[in-house]
Every structure is written in C-alpha cells, then in structure tokens.
Amino acid sequence: MNRILPVLTVVVALIVLWYLGAVAMNAQWTRDQAARAGQELSFTGIVADTLSQDRPKLPAPHQVAAELWQTTVQKSITSKRSLVYHGWVTLSATLLGFAIGTGAGILLAVGIVHNRAMDMSVMPWAIASQTIPILAIAPMIIVVLNSIGIQGVLPKAIISAYLSFFPVVVGMVKGLRSPDAMQLDLLKTYGASGGETFRKLRLPSSMPYLFTSLKVGIAASLVGAIVGELPTGAVRGLGARLLSGSYYGQTVQIWAALIAAAALAAALVGVVGLIQRATLKRMGMER
C-alpha cells in the first residue's frame, strides 16, 4: 500500500502537467484564430479551445484516450485504421525476431563457454558491439532485403533479432559461468560428464541471468521492429503510424500510436517477468 499512493501521486501530477502543457502550447494557435476572426476570447474560452483542437501541438490526454478507444475498440480488427491491426503487425515481427535472437544468442553463449578460442575471439566483439548504435543499419537491412525480394515480417524480425542477440549472449555467458569452483568440483566427484554438468548445474544456475537479459532483449526487439517499419514508407505497423502521423501532422494519431507502443512494451516485459517468477519459483530460486 505504501507504494501505490506515491506512484499514483506522481502519475496524477504528470497528467496535470500534461494538461497545463497542452493549454500552454496550443494557446498560440487559438489566439491566432480568434484574432483572424476578430473575436475576443475569455480565459475559459481559450482553455476550452486548446483542449479540443483537431491538430494540436500537444493533444490533451482525453483526446488521445478517445482516439485510442476509437481505433482499438470501435474499429474492426482487420481495418487498416485499427491500432490492434497495426500493433499485431509490429508484435509478430517483434516476437519472431526475439525468438531468433534469443535462440542464436543462447547457442553462441554455450559455444563461448565451452570453447576457449571462441571465447577469446568473439566475446570482446560482442561486448564492443553494445557500445555502437546498431539501429543505424536498420534502413539498409530493410532496403537490401527488399531488393532481393524478401518483404513483410522477416526483415523487421532480423533487425529485432540483431538487437536482442547481444544482450542475451552477454547475460547468458555470465550466467553459465556463475556456478563457482566448489559446485563444479562437486559434480566432478559425482563423475558427471560435460553434458550432465551443463544440464544439471550450468543451465539451471544461468536462469536468473537469462531472464534479466530477456527483459532487456524484448524491449530492444520492439524498438527494432518499430524502427524497421520506418524506411518502407509508412505501410503497416506502429512505426508506420508514427511516420504517417508525422507526415500529415496528425498529432493525436502519433500520441495514440506512442501510447499503444508503450502499452505493448510494458505488456511484453511484464509477461517475461511473470514467466521469470513462475520458473524461478518452481526451481526454488525465488528471491
């Protein structure tokens, strides 16, 4: 209980700030319109107008909520204007890419832990690659794959996979190395083979590390899928909604897409967190 009240206070304060910002940023347009029409506006008139413009600089929260309601609940899911449809396009690319990236990352991590040459040659590059803006190559991947005839979900998934790949490698290597010498010695006295050591000690003890990087990875995957939708020229997906909104000055649409993307990210990270809790609980590793 003593966490809910402060969080609520902050959220309410943010919404109040948002309303104040909406009034302040949209007032100029309202005054210009009134001056052109030769009208005098009262203070309440300005406030009422700033919160209900068609293309405000900063739409008020209730306008965004109304747009969200219209484009999710009131549109059929197959409609091109439905956010559920666009969200699904982005989500499918995210999940496919996340699966590819995580699978490849875990495989590489296993290789790195068991092969010293691989460790010494690949690991520094895997760490260094986290300091470079990988996202910059997204447009190129999309366009190049498009030119050799690969379209649709796969190019975006590749970008997502690429972004979630390195956090998983780094976290998984750390996790597979986390059993200490004492535990490894114990398995040696049991006469365990390399495979058994891996299955019964290394893999289970890597789980907390794996889930931590999965959370980072799935958030990165979503960003990758959204950015991957930009260079194709605003066809489908949440990224396309952002771009077409910015082309046509539809600020309400941009904010609705943004909130949808945020909700999607929160849901994805939340699901990974739930799986983490359930898994670690069954393994008796809950903290």
């Binding site: 590059w125 803006p133 959370k215 960003v223």
Partner: protein
C-alpha cells in the same frame, strides 16, 4: 573462384592460429588477449572481401570492405559535416543536458522519500518503453535542426540516468552516514564528501548506458526529418539511392564515434572511481 578459396584458406589458417594461441601457454598474456580478437575481426573482413568479390555479389546488396574504405577516404568532408551535425550538436549537447538534469533531479527528490517511492517505479517503467517513438513529436515541436535531436536524446537518457543516480545516492552505508553525523557534517557536506563520491559507480553506469542511447536517439530522430546533413539523414537518403558503400562508411563513423565515446566515459570512470573494487583489479 580463387578469391573464395583464398578467403576460406585464410579463415582456416586464422582459426588454427587462434586455437594455438587460445590453448597455448601464453594465453593469459596481454598480447594474446589482444591478438585473438583482432585476428578474428581481420578474418571476418577477409572472408567478407573474398566472398563478395569471388561470388560477384552486386554492390547494391553488399559492397566489399575495400570499396567502403575507398569511399570513406574519398568523402571525409561529408562524413565530418555529418559527424558534427549528429554527434557534436545533437547527441553530445542532448547527453550533457539530459544527464545533468537527471542528476540534479535525483539530488532534489533524494530529500523526499515520498517522491522517491513514487518516481522510481515510474522512471523504471519509462526507461523500458520505446522512448524513441517520441522523436516525430519532438521534431514537430523543435524543428528539423539539431535542437529536436538534442531534445530526443534528453528524453532518452533522462530516465536511465535518474534511476541509476537515485540508486547511487542510497549506496552509502548507515555506518558511513553515522560517521559524518559524528563529525557534525551538515546535509551539503555529507552530500559532497560522502554520498556523491559513493554514488559515482552507479552514476557512471548510467553515463555509459546513455552514450549508446544518445547516439541511437540522434540518428533515428533524423529519419523523421532533418536539414540536408547528419548521419541519420545521409543513411536514409543514400539507402534510397542504393549507394550502400556510403551507408557503410556512415555506419563505420557511427561505430567509431560510439565506441570512442564509451571508451572516453569508461576512462573517466577509471580515474574517478579508482577506489572501487571493480577498478582495483
């Protein structure tokens, strides 16, 4: 065909050398730790060059490294202009403003446990969101030039930095704070002489995460509109003209700038937090 075979032979030879070094006697020396990854990187470049040239892969799909290097050398002035526009004006100014504001905010909310309990979960939540999506809005507000890119960077680095700094300010132990109390140190003295220094490992963790975020923010924000210079602008337009060697040159600049920026912050960290166990080695 010879090129392909040559590249594969080089791969095999480099692999053998790396195996020898990694399992040999001098494997824990500094030279070995440097030589193995460098050789691996070199192998990748040779394979890339050999396969692309040998199999006649068209330049619009994947240009060979030599072509990229030639292009890089030939268009240094353009690359420099883009670098200044995106990195120095956009990313760096946003980075300084965002990190500075986050540290200041952390110090302010540190005095109120209520605000801390409220802001930390919200900050953690926002730090996990695809903040980059706010780029089109900020481009609309602040115009096409570097100011909007700096604004995107500010928003992107603010929350990771805030969360880390707040954690850092809580890092000093009760014993240490008691000691400051017995010295009758006031709030500001405790802050400056104990808690801020103790927070530095956390602050630098946030600063290091933010270096990558800053560059990503500045580049991606340019996809939503920019003047006719900048790394993100160049990447998106040259991709459209299918001159991929220029795109790769631009990516090379981004990679170099990103790792140099990270390396610089890491070096400063080494100097500032010399007392921390992770730095004493």
């Amino acid at each position: 065909m010879n090129l392909v075979i040559g590249a594969l032979v080089f791969w095999g030879a480099a692999w053998w050398v790396n195996l020898r070094i990694a399992n040999g006697r001098g494997r824990d020396t500094r030279a070995a730790r440097l030589a193995v990854p460098v050789l691996f990187g070199l192998t990748l470049l040779v394979l890339w060059e050999g396969l692309v040239r040998g199999l006649n892969v068209p330049g619009v799909i994947l240009p060979p490294p030599s072509a990229i290097a030639t292009r890089f050398a030939a268009s240094l002035p353009i690359l420099w202009v883009d670098f200044v526009q995106t990195f120095v004006k956009g990313a760096l100014s946003g980075y300084v403003i965002g990190c500075g504001a986050a540290v200041a905010t952390a110090i302010i909310i540190d005095r109120s446990p209520f605000l801390q309990r409220g802001l930390l979960p919200v900050g953690n939540f926002i730090a996990a969101l695809p903040v980059i999506g706010i780029a089109p809005i900020l481009v609309m507000w602040f115009g096409f030039d570097w100011q909007s890119k700096a604004a995107v960077v500010v928003v992107m680095v603010f929350f990771p930095m805030l969360v880390n700094t707040v954690q850092g300010l809580a890092a000093s132990t009760a014993m240490q704070r008691d000691l400051m109390q017995t010295y009758s140190a006031n709030y500001w003295q405790t802050l400056l002489k104990l808690r801020l220094p103790a927070a530095m490992p956390f602050v630098f963790n946030g600063l290091k995460i933010s270096t990558t975020l800053a560059l990503i923010g500045a580049i991606v924000a340019e996809f939503f509109g920019s003047p006719i210079k900048g790394m993100g602008f160049r990447i998106s337009t040259e991709v459209g003209r299918l001159s991929l060697d220029m795109v790769w040159a631009e990516i090379a600049v981004a990679a170099l700038a990103g790792s140099a920026f990270y390396g610089l912050v890491a070096a400063i960290e080494k100097g500032v937090t010399f007392w921390h166990p992770s730095q004493r080695g």
